[in-house]
């Protein structure tokens, strides 16, 4: 008995630790000389029943492989088609020339009004001469006319 097993059994305080090693086996039913001719019997049995497994031949025309290939190509095609549809639907968000034109026609009045209220004062200023502006600043705003060029 190896020392490791002996120590383990000693720790368990088992009587097996103190005994000589015995191979415990239920020998009932085992015919006499059963093991003596085992090699010949089993070699004979193997020869009659089976040959060693040969290297597996893999054909490129294997049906399973073809099925998987077709499935893979189909999957890629469906995926590609899906991506194309998404991209095309995204480009529809761009406005055509007609749409822009219609929008401007419908919203044009509002924009014109808005522009006029913002731009009008500046347009009026454009009509005044420099001297008129200078006079306005000196007389109305009380600025020093000597400093205005």
């Amino acid at each position: 008995m190896n020392q490791e097993l002996k120590n383990e059994l000693s720790e368990l305080q088992s009587p097996l630790a103190e005994m000589d090693k015995h191979y415990f086996a239920n020998q009932s039913e085992v015919p006499m000389d059963y093991f003596s001719s085992m090699e010949d019997r089993f070699i004979q049995f193997i020869k009659e029943n089976e040959s060693p497994r040969e290297a597996k031949q893999i054909s490129i025309f294997d049906f399973k492989r073809i099925t998987y290939s077709v499935a893979a190509v189909s999957a890629f095609a469906i995926l590609g088609l899906g991506i194309l549809i998404i991209l095309r639907s995204g480009s529809d968000t761009q406005l055509s020339e007609n749409e822009v034109k219609t929008f401007l026609e419908e919203e044009g009045d509002f924009l014109a009004l808005e522009n006029s209220t913002l731009v009008e004062p500046y347009r009026k200023l454009e009509k005044l001469s420099d001297n008129e502006i200078k006079d306005y600043l000196c007389e109305v705003e009380g600025m020093d006319c000597g400093q205005i060029n």
Binding site: M1, N2, E4, L5, L9, L12, S14, P15, L16, M19, H22, Y23, F24, A25, N26, Q27, S28, E29, V30, P31, F35, M38, E39, F42, I43, F45, I46, N49, E50, P52, R53
Partner: protein
């Protein structure tokens, strides 16, 4: 892998020497495998049938053995799987049921074992053998691996797919049960 095992495997991979190689393997492992299987299937005829299947499996697969585990572990693992499959198929048992089940042989009464004509051993050994026969199936097998074959827990774990901790606990329980049986009888 021991040198001897390496030589045997090399023979088995050589088509010209495969038969000699298998013959060496059978010679080396025949009794160990027989007792391992018998611990699981219990009857001699069933053991013989499983053993035949095991040698066919070894013959078919030895060419693909890569030496990632010890040759003995690889062989014991095939043997364990074949034995469990056989019991499950024969008894329509689930693995969990087999692991906790009581011995299968009806004739394993104390009297039958004590009086068997082959048993001309001393009383203590007879009692221990009876006690072992009374252990649940998997515990009996673990006791066989650990005590009879003196396998380390790591190797038993590889063969049975059970954790080392669980194996150790199972072996200790088995040893205690045997001790209790001897004291009672």
């Amino acid at each position: 892998m021991k040198l001897e095992d390496e030589k045997i495997v090399a023979m088995c991979k050589d088509s010209a020497q495969v038969e000699i190689g298998i013959r060496h393997l059978i010679h080396k492992y025949k009794e160990k495998l027989y007792w391992q299987i018998k611990r699981i299937v219990e009857h001699h005829d069933d053991t013989e049938e499983v053993l035949q299947n095991v040698w066919i499996k070894i013959w078919q697969n030895i060419g693909g053995f890569k030496g990632e585990s010890a040759l003995s572990t690889w062989i014991y693992r095939i043997t364990y799987n074949e034995s469990i499959s056989y019991v499950q198929g024969r008894k329509k048992q689930k693995l969990a049921d087999w692991e906790t089940s009581e011995p299968l042989i009806e004739a394993h009464t104390d009297e039958a074992l004590f009086n068997h004509e082959i048993y001309d051993k001393d009383e203590v050994i007879k009692k221990i053998e009876v006690a072992i026969e009374k252990l649940p199936q998997k515990q009996k097998l673990i006791f066989h691996y650990r005590y009879n074959e003196e396998m380390p827990y790591s190797q038993i774990a590889e063969i049975t797919g059970t954790s080392e901790g669980a194996l150790k606990a199972s072996f200790h329980h088995a040893v205690k049960k045997i001790e209790v049986f001897i004291k009672k009888n």
